[in-house]
Subunit: 239 residues, 6 copies
Amino acid sequence: MSRPDGRVADQLRHVRIQRGWLDHAEGSVLVEFGGTRVLCAASVQDSVPRWRRDTGLGWLTAEYAMLPRATNTRNDREAVKGKLGGRTQEISRLIGRSLRACVDFKALGQNTITLDCDVLQADGGTRTAAITGAYVALADAVTWMRDKRLTKGDPLITSVCAVSVGVIDGQPRLDLCYEEDVRADTDMNVVCTGDGRLIEVQGTAEGQPFSRAELNSLLDLAELGCVDLTMMQKEALAR
Amino acid sequence: MSRPDGRVADQLRHVRIQRGWLDHAEGSVLVEFGGTRVLCAASVQDSVPRWRRDTGLGWLTAEYAMLPRATNTRNDREAVKGKLGGRTQEISRLIGRSLRACVDFKALGQNTITLDCDVLQADGGTRTAAITGAYVALADAVTWMRDKRLTKGDPLITSVCAVSVGVIDGQPRLDLCYEEDVRADTDMNVVCTGDGRLIEVQGTAEGQPFSRAELNSLLDLAELGCVDLTMMQKEALAR
Amino acid sequence: MSRPDGRVADQLRHVRIQRGWLDHAEGSVLVEFGGTRVLCAASVQDSVPRWRRDTGLGWLTAEYAMLPRATNTRNDREAVKGKLGGRTQEISRLIGRSLRACVDFKALGQNTITLDCDVLQADGGTRTAAITGAYVALADAVTWMRDKRLTKGDPLITSVCAVSVGVIDGQPRLDLCYEEDVRADTDMNVVCTGDGRLIEVQGTAEGQPFSRAELNSLLDLAELGCVDLTMMQKEALAR
Amino acid sequence: MSRPDGRVADQLRHVRIQRGWLDHAEGSVLVEFGGTRVLCAASVQDSVPRWRRDTGLGWLTAEYAMLPRATNTRNDREAVKGKLGGRTQEISRLIGRSLRACVDFKALGQNTITLDCDVLQADGGTRTAAITGAYVALADAVTWMRDKRLTKGDPLITSVCAVSVGVIDGQPRLDLCYEEDVRADTDMNVVCTGDGRLIEVQGTAEGQPFSRAELNSLLDLAELGCVDLTMMQKEALAR
Amino acid sequence: MSRPDGRVADQLRHVRIQRGWLDHAEGSVLVEFGGTRVLCAASVQDSVPRWRRDTGLGWLTAEYAMLPRATNTRNDREAVKGKLGGRTQEISRLIGRSLRACVDFKALGQNTITLDCDVLQADGGTRTAAITGAYVALADAVTWMRDKRLTKGDPLITSVCAVSVGVIDGQPRLDLCYEEDVRADTDMNVVCTGDGRLIEVQGTAEGQPFSRAELNSLLDLAELGCVDLTMMQKEALAR
Amino acid sequence: MSRPDGRVADQLRHVRIQRGWLDHAEGSVLVEFGGTRVLCAASVQDSVPRWRRDTGLGWLTAEYAMLPRATNTRNDREAVKGKLGGRTQEISRLIGRSLRACVDFKALGQNTITLDCDVLQADGGTRTAAITGAYVALADAVTWMRDKRLTKGDPLITSVCAVSVGVIDGQPRLDLCYEEDVRADTDMNVVCTGDGRLIEVQGTAEGQPFSRAELNSLLDLAELGCVDLTMMQKEALAR
């Protein structure tokens, strides 16, 4: 059972992390997982939402969106339709939640970081690429803040990355491309810290319900992938 | 470490499933998980969405909502604000996905079942109560359809129920009430079939990231709860 | 000319007023007029709208809504459509106006009471049931406030109830059920105080225009009904 | 107790009905009740709404709106706010309902008449001026249709007009201007046919609840006013 | 090549400027360019938008809209559709920009003038009629402010008017009516100051692209028209 | 008077046109005018809008948008706000109008081309870069169509490009960057065909009104720029 792009089951697609892709953003990354290409921009604002005021704590939020022609056939713009789709909001919430898990909000001070993850091209795994790239953009924005002495200590507790796994034709596979994603029986997104603990596990039976054994083999695969992605994030940040 | 309502760690709250709570709906259930009270109504419509036409297959969709004063303090109505919140859409999508997993759409014929899950009172676990109750409403609607000879064979492949689990003060607990939910370090919702396979697993680190061992102990607990809930669904449908 | 449910022309449907149906709300009532079932929740907030500030006066507002499957066939959610229908807003305004007529806003202090009236099941007369039930929920919320010493004197000047009347086949009838409502030539909603004065009279010719004589016979009937409803409210509050 | 503009209690304001104010509309009227000025346009369309198709019957609908500076201080546009206010929808519904009462939809054929009532200047009684003017615009549109042989018999059963009445300082008064309207204890809008029967009665206690006796004296006054308005409509249509 | 209404190529339509058409507005004008009829209302507010605060400068904004039956066939209301069309916003922005060009915001003080331009009837050139009329309404509002001593010196630097020009059948023409507008190859709107300088030039090839020579001949024509319109504005303000 | 980036007055910024930047779109271009970076995607759909049906003619439409962090400080997403801003719609309309000027809709057949122009980074002149890039994406989409034999003859009559010009400190300059744009007294966008004719001229006095002489010198400059841009488009398409 070969994969559409010739990979073996536990192999990531070609991952590319370009830092500093935008001139204005405090941190920015163009991240590619194979044909999936997401532009992640981190914006720093020296205030927090109303409900967070007077706590001394900062905040982090994320917005995910897709360009109309990121996909095989064109999708209508949500701005034109006048409302955000459920999928868009669900992924935005996931990205925000995942990255908040690595931030010490006391050290961040009363600042808000907004992570915009805009999918320029989609080929499966856009949310996991977004989380992986957003972490690097976040790290750059935090460095920018530290240089401006806006932080109190190190706001980054750990690193965060994410990968998708799924069962296709009974075989667990790592980092599904779109063609695999639509055929998967079970689809799982796993968000990990750099030291291998879990932040979010979302497994869904697309076709048949799945067993604990399948769940475990998918998690094994995801952990492997996250070790690799964590290393790539480190390398990118070291450049 | 006792629980706010005196339960032991692997104990469900008092669950009550009242069928036929509405006169008009083809299936309806008022389901209670302790103080959480959700009205589930199944509506049958003899057509399918446009993109599903000419496939011979039926469809199932769900909408989740909360009354403004279901909660401790009043929330503004989404209809008044003019848009659905991300949480509402995320849960609606989860309920629909979960219940579609138990339906044979060929047997359902070109009909659509809409499951409205309206939270009348919220005390934690509204989405899991909604899924558990919606299955019973769905079963009644399917019986109604069968009586009208609208189906071709049995559209229900299995039963579906759901339960929340979480880690509080280092202890895994089953079926969190609101007070526990806000204190949980890890929060997980598990959707199971009646024969114990998994449909959806959503685990989130609210505080500290979690380990595979913690994940496993939570899944063990959830499986126990789902066995009980499946039995209660059967009893309710047998009445 | 018998009525669908066997009542005589000047007879109310079976009315049931259950107080304290919700745990969180300061006042709550599940009110039933026959098959019509409305959940009324009164929420107290210790502030007033901006335009009311610095007047020393409180405020009361109401929101009416219907669950999608309250009716014979399912209606789309207004939250999903993204806007409130005209009928919804019209009834919300009527309920608010009616209940403001019984409140001394000086005695209420700078507090706002919101009355949420959610129709769980509809069988005609939902707005009159909502007003009748909302008054009882309001009375309980005011008692709650008095216990907390949030009021200055008694904020309730009088009680308020409402009933529908209509002409069917030339015969004036009290408290129309849905089947009668759609057949009525003239349809009128009357809101009264506990001492028999009028707060709101809304009469509409659905078929033929009506005469002053018909108007008068409908008002006579409505007054009768309101005397009964006032007594039932008193009994419910005495329990 | 003199009135702000020197009228006696049962006197209408100066009413002016200018037909043919617009070049494009099938019927159009600029109607003035004192300082209140409403532009009524009747548009004929050779189709009916979807739910009305295949019935052989026509339809009539109305839309009421106010220009931002019709009033003493400027109001934000509803188009800019992105939603219709409750008051706007309520009055639109009232105008539509009132004018449908005078139309024979079989005679109208499968056509829709839309009555746009745009308040150019407001000084109380905008909805009653709108109804009174809209009837004349409707009559002209019906004549236009008859000339084009689009009708089957006479679609106009009767004429329709409307007037406001209210109790100010204990005195019932006809056709309130804005200054009186804000001071009224009871406010009533009455819609009549040309032969004196009632189409709609909407009475509201703004301050004190009102008695049946007060209601009756207000209805007497309204009937008087409608006799005058009916005559003015006839004169305008005869010109 | 004669024009539909018998004018020569460089002739304006009949222009009529009626001041004081509304009782409440600080300045108001009903302006007519032939069959085009626009009601312009200037409203003064003693505050400025948030981003303009603490600058000592005033602000001017404009809103353009069209009544549903201003046109040959009825258009749906933007308030009913729940969003402003692109054309409406584009013209509102043009009117605001054009009139801001003649205002000294220091002299205006911390006040905002809103110019509402509502098209009661449309026959081509609604935006140019709106700008021409709005200037006169603005001048009256400024006089009203001066009388109340709300200004510091003269806020009006110059006057502003606008006219449309276009090429029909190869011939440049001034002030197009609707019938000409739809047939024009090139369509241009020109906004001028009273002393003949340009504020805005918007030329669009509707059919064939145009040459510099054509552009020049259209500008010549527009300048001529603006000289006339400026004189008419002066005469109207002198009355 | 030197320019911020050292250019002479009649010099374009560095222009870069990368074709085929997206895998899925029928034509796609990443166009850069200095720091301004716009992703243009052309999507082909084998149908036309409803109002265009049964004409045998095709259609072309455009949508312009900006990523939230394309600019110096982050802008809220229009999809989150739930409505399109006036500026966005105005530019979308301009791009569509400009590119329709170069299309033979008979030759295009009953197909629609949608041009999505998403600004990834903004540094002035985003709309002119978008038009210039969109033409190249359009040309590639037309080639794709021709290869699939979807066209009847050549749908491209000419090429289209655009450039901004402005007066800064009394000096006319070509292709303004953001820093110049905000300081310009007069700002003009000019859209030209490949053979030097004008499609759209939009000149706006930002500060002082401008004279015919200034207008002419700006047009001279724009024509120069368009000759260069046309050549670059040809070179890009030849690669």
